[in-house]
């Protein structure tokens, strides 16, 4: 009978059958490869998808290239701005920040009102209407509200929100729900995290907004696009000069626009994460492949000799065994690409929560998929190559002879006489470990790698806790921050002290400035603090409280880097409000802080420079919790209040939204680390089993019970696992520090932190994975065919 046969070369058949024979080990390795590739594909495909989505969104909705705010500029200035060489389209607007009284929210919220373009006018930063309609020209209180705000409150067209507009309470009617490229990342000015319940953007008709803020015939905000090839620096400088007489607050480019800047930083981090984490996983995969192959090849010693005798060359034989690794890696990589496609879509959904696009068009980038497959193959080949070249290099005549019995001697512990009365099994375990110290070390390091990945994954939880502690318990200890509409006299401090429940008041002076050092500059606000402030303080990542010196600036270290200044250097401070003075101020200190780019100064020094009295822009309040509700009610109605930040609410929001995001990432990491732990330990156990099956079978024949034999094999594994725990913690600590250094960006610089509790969890997981593998190997050991093992020639 002739069966149709798939024609495969004999060596190919051998390859497939051999890999099938070691399928459970191959699976464990492939899963580790798959985990690395999944992360690579997830992160980098999201990166690509975000970049693609953003650029299309920015382009379609005409996201501006340069932005600037002013106090009030006359309408005709628009034409002069348009005449600046390199400017393409100019769009002037009226923008105002207001306090909101939202039904269902105790504390006041903040709103930003942005004017919609008049019909027919050129429009930049175009709002995309998602639901409802545009405001009716006959109804001045009609607004289009930002989608994230509406979702947070369950609002839709027809709902109303009360706003204190220029001192008057008005009911805004939501007629539409929209999104804008300017608020992809929607954050209240000065905040560290988005809070969609307490911050919303509302687009209104220009006429209505201008009337409310006395901006008829004028504007206080301008956005423009650049013509191709135009120099943004040049345009920014010219725009600043034009706006200066009108209270210009400093123009900035898209790169520094809050939403775009945050996303850019997030993207950089995403790409880093997409490269570094999989690299760790794939190294581990290469490593266990190496160990598994080394052992498999030792078992194939006779076959290698036979192939050589038959006339197969070293290259052919070497390639044959490298293919083992490639087959396993390819299987893992393909599964990883599939996993990345699935998980990546989940992550894209998460990004859609934080960043608001018309639609995040997620797809696996073919380039990323291709690179991940090629990368896994290369890494696997590298892991295999050393093992294979060593095995293949053995001269055929030597390979023909069985391995000489391994040389054993009493282990160090025995020689030291420490444990002369160790049981026989323990002695065998120790001697085996000591006889092959490199193998033992490698296996131990493999398990340690799993522990290390777990430590890194779990450390994110600790990092978040440290960040929360630093921000909300150390740096910003006030319960409520009240921001005034423009600078106020010192009377405002006394007024604040008389508010319900207020126990302590710390005045702050916040001044919009442009800091300049040589050609480098950055627009931000100097925060003037009381030197002995106990509520809002300057805190370094180390947890140290940095006192604000009586004179000079304290800058975030990243800001120092941006400006290229160190303590002792002087920076030019160009004030962007009032009389717009400019002066040189020395840098007193750089602080290695966690969030954003900050500049602090003693309040009195700031007053002196501005030649003003004890003016305040905001106050930090310590409030009796029992009176908080009453305080909220009062603040909601105060016309002088532009914004209110409530710590409890911020913290709660942070824990909810950020934690949700982080938890998913942490779950990824921990899940994958557990997979690695199992993969490594299972492999180590299987290798020991195959290596020692003959010896163990002999012991069984001599009358050892299964338990006793199992103890010898698993004892070795237990020793390696225990040794790996501290090593894994140290490696994890080092890698974690390294990753945190890489992830430093302008938005945040995470402090690396790991608690004893996380270390304990990582250890428990590794031990658990080891226990599971032990059970699997033990079952295999119990099925060992004694006779067959003993009769076979090693």
């Amino acid at each position: 009978m002739v069966r149709p046969r798939l024609h495969l070369r004999a060596l190919t058949r051998k390859l497939l059958r051999d890999v099938w024979e070691m399928k459970s080990q191959a699976l464990a390795i492939a899963v580790v490869v798959a985990a690395g590739v999944t992360m690579f594909v997830t992160y980098l495909s999201n990166f690509d998808s975000l970049v693609r989505t953003l650029s299309r969104y920015y382009e379609r909705q005409q996201f501006a290239d340069v932005f600037a705010g002013a106090t009030r500029a006359p309408g005709p200035l628009a034409a002069r701005i348009g005449a600046i060489p390199g400017v393409d389209i100019v769009d002037t607007r009226v923008v105002a920040d207001v306090t909101l009284d939202v039904t269902g929210l105790d504390e006041p919220a903040n709103g930003r009102l942005v004017s919609l373009p008049s019909p027919g006018a050129p429009a930049l930063n175009r709002v995309l209407l998602r639901r409802g309609t545009w405001p009716d020209p006959a109804r001045p209180d009609d607004v289009v509200a930002s989608e994230v705000f509406c979702e947070a409150h369950g609002f839709g067209p027809g709902d109303r929100v009360a706003a204190i507009v220029n001192g008057r309470r008005r009911q805004l009617t939501i007629v539409g729900v929209g999104i804008s490229p300017e608020y992809v990342y929607s954050i209240r000015p000065g905040d560290l995290f988005p809070d969609n319940r307490r911050f919303g953007v509302f687009w209104m008709q220009r006429a209505a907004l201008a009337a409310a803020f006395d901006m008829e015939g004028g504007f206080n905000d301008v956005a423009l696009t650049l013509a191709a090839g135009a120099s943004s620096d040049d345009v920014v400088a010219r725009l600043d000069r034009l706006l200066e007489p009108y209270g210009g607050r400093g123009a900035y480019t898209r790169a520094l626009q809050v939403s775009a800047w945050t996303i850019e930083n997030e993207l950089t981090q995403l790409r880093m994460f997409g490269l570094v984490t999989p690299a760790i996983f794939l190294s581990v995969a290469a490593f266990i492949l190496h160990i598994a192959l080394t052992r498999a090849l030792a078992l194939q010693r006779g076959q290698i000799a036979a192939l050589k005798a038959l006339g197969y060359g070293n290259r052919t034989i070497g390639w044959h065994y490298v293919q083992w690794a490639l087959v396993i890696a390819a299987a893992g990589a393909l599964a990883g690409v599939a996993g990345g496609a699935w998980l990546g879509a989940k992550m894209a959904d998460l990004y859609n929560e934080f960043f608001r696009f018309p639609m995040l068009d997620y797809r696996v980038s073919p380039g990323v998929a291709l690179w991940s497959v090629l990368g896994s193959l290369a890494v696997a080949a590298a892991g295999a190559l050393a093992a294979v070249s060593r095995a293949v290099a053995v001269p055929p005549a030597d390979a023909m002879r069985p391995d000489a019995p391994a040389r054993y001697r009493p282990s160090l512990i025995e020689r030291l006489g420490v444990a002369r009365r160790l049981p026989q099994a323990a002695r065998m375990v120790l001697r085996t470990l000591e006889r092959q110290p490199v193998r033992a070390l490698l296996s131990m390091l493999g398990i340690a790698a799993a522990g290390a990945v777990l430590v890194i994954g779990l450390s994110f939880i600790d990092v978040m806790d440290v960040l929360i502690d630093e921000q909300f318990m150390q740096a910003m200890r006030q319960d409520v921050t009240v921001t005034f509409v423009g600078p106020r006299s010192a009377d405002a401090v006394h007024a604040a002290a008389r508010l319900p429940g207020v126990m302590a008041v710390e005045p702050q002076r916040v001044v919009p400035v442009r800091l300049r050092a040589g050609a480098r500059h950055r627009t931000l606000a100097i925060i003037g603090l009381t030197p002995d402030a106990s509520l809002q303080r300057v805190v370094a990542r180390s947890g140290a409280v940095i006192p604000v010196p009586p004179a000079g600036l304290v800058l975030s270290r990243v800001l120092g880097d941006v400006l290229g200044v160190t303590p002792g250097d002087s920076v030019r401070v160009e004030v962007l409000e009032g009389a717009r003075p400019a002066f040189d101020v020395p840098v007193a200190a750089l602080v290695d802080d966690s969030m954003g780019v900050q500049a602090y100064m003693a309040r009195d020094a700031l007053h002196a420079l501005l030649r003003e009295g004890r003016t305040v822009s905001s106050t930090a309040l310590k409030v009796d919790p029992r009176d908080l509700a009453q305080l909220h009610l009062t603040l909601k109605a105060l016309p002088a209040v532009a914004g209110v930040a409530v710590r409890e609410a911020t913290l709660r929001n942070f824990r909810q939204t950020m934690a949700e995001h982080m938890n998913l990432i942490i779950a990824f990491n921990v899940g994958f680390a557990a997979i690695i732990a199992f993969g490594v330990v299972y492999n180590a156990a299987r290798v020991s089993l195959s290596e020692r099956s003959r010896e163990l079978a002999s012991l069984r024949v001599l009358g050892f019970t299964r338990d006793e034999v199992g103890r010898i094999l698993l004892g070795e594994l237990a020793v390696l696992t225990l040794l790996s725990l501290p090593v894994g913690a140290v490696i994890g600590y080092g890698l974690g520090l390294f990753i945190m250094t890489i992830f430093n960006n302008e938005v945040y610089r995470l402090p690396f932190a790991i608690t004893a509790q996380s270390i304990a969890w990582s250890w428990l997981t590794v031990v658990g994975a080891a226990a599971l593998s032990s059970i699997a190997v033990r079952r295999r050991l119990d099925r060992l065919d004694l006779i067959a093992v003993l009769k076979s020639r090693e």
């Binding site: 051998k14 036979a306 005798a309 038959l310 006339g311 060359g313 070293n314 001269p395 023909m400």
Partner: protein, 238 residues
């Protein structure tokens, strides 16, 4: 019957020294050995007499420390790794005491390992038929008896139509009945294909099959005997 003609191998003054740990082992101490086309030679000697070392050097699996070995116009003494591989691929068939079959390949596939890379091989089916295993083509080594496995090894060795067949203790792991079947297969191949055959054994009873018997002891050739009449494998006993 093969009459001594042009020598296939000419080996002169072969010396092989292994260093094992701190000890130097002299496996061969100046051995001369010739092999003619179609000749059937038995190398006889106790363990450690240097038989396997000589066979490995003839087969290009090992190189001598001193002396020369020439296969027709190939100088194996100076040949590099690649040249030796090519030599083994084109001219030599090996049969080992422990068969050295690839356990994950069937009988047919084990033979195919060779036929796929040889210049003018027979088919695996033909080779296996020659050793009377035409009905066991798709069995894996684990499904075959020791004698059958060794016959697969012989089929694998001869499938390339080698000029020399080198057998290291081919019956060493077999009982007499199966051993005889294997030896029959070897003499059958020697007669029908004219393959020069060298068989290593420490079993003197096998010597009767040979045209010539070379006795080794302690790395030296101590005696050479020519058999006027060869016995048939099936009449052997030990």
């Amino acid at each position: 019957m093969a009459t001594p003609s042009a020598p296939v191998f000419v080996a002169r003054d072969l010396t092989k020294v292994y260093t094992m740990g701190d000890v130097q082992v002299h496996a061969l101490r100046g051995v001369d050995f010739d092999l003619s086309a179609g000749e059937f030679v038995v190398l006889l000697g106790p363990s450690g007499s240097g038989k396997s070392t000589l066979l490995n050097i003839l087969g290009g699996l090992d190189v001598p420390t001193a002396g020369s070995v020439v296969y027709r116009d190939h100088d194996l003494t100076t040949a590099g790794e690649a040249a030796l591989t090519e030599y083994r691929r084109d001219h030599v068939g090996f049969v080992f005491q422990f068969y050295n079959l690839i356990p994950s390949l069937t009988a047919r596939e084990n033979v195919a390992l060779v036929t796929e890379i040889a210049a003018s091989p027979m088919t695996p089916e033909e080779a296996l038929a020659l050793v009377a295993l035409g009905d066991r083509l798709d069995h894996f080594p684990a499904q075959l008896s020791g004698g059958e496995q060794q016959r697969v090894a012989i089929a694998r060795a001869i499938a390339k139509r080698p000029e020399v067949l080198l057998c290291d203790e081919p019956t060493g792991a077999l009982d007499i009945t199966t051993g005889v079947v294997v030896l029959e297969a070897l003499t059958h191949v020697n007669r029908t294909l004219g393959t020069a055959t060298v068989v290593i054994t420490h079993n003197a009873a096998i010597a009767g099959l040979a045209d010539r018997v070379v006795r080794l002891a302690d790395g030296r050739v101590v005696a050479v005997e020519h058999n006027a009449v060869k016995v048939e494998a099936r009449s052997l006993s030990w």
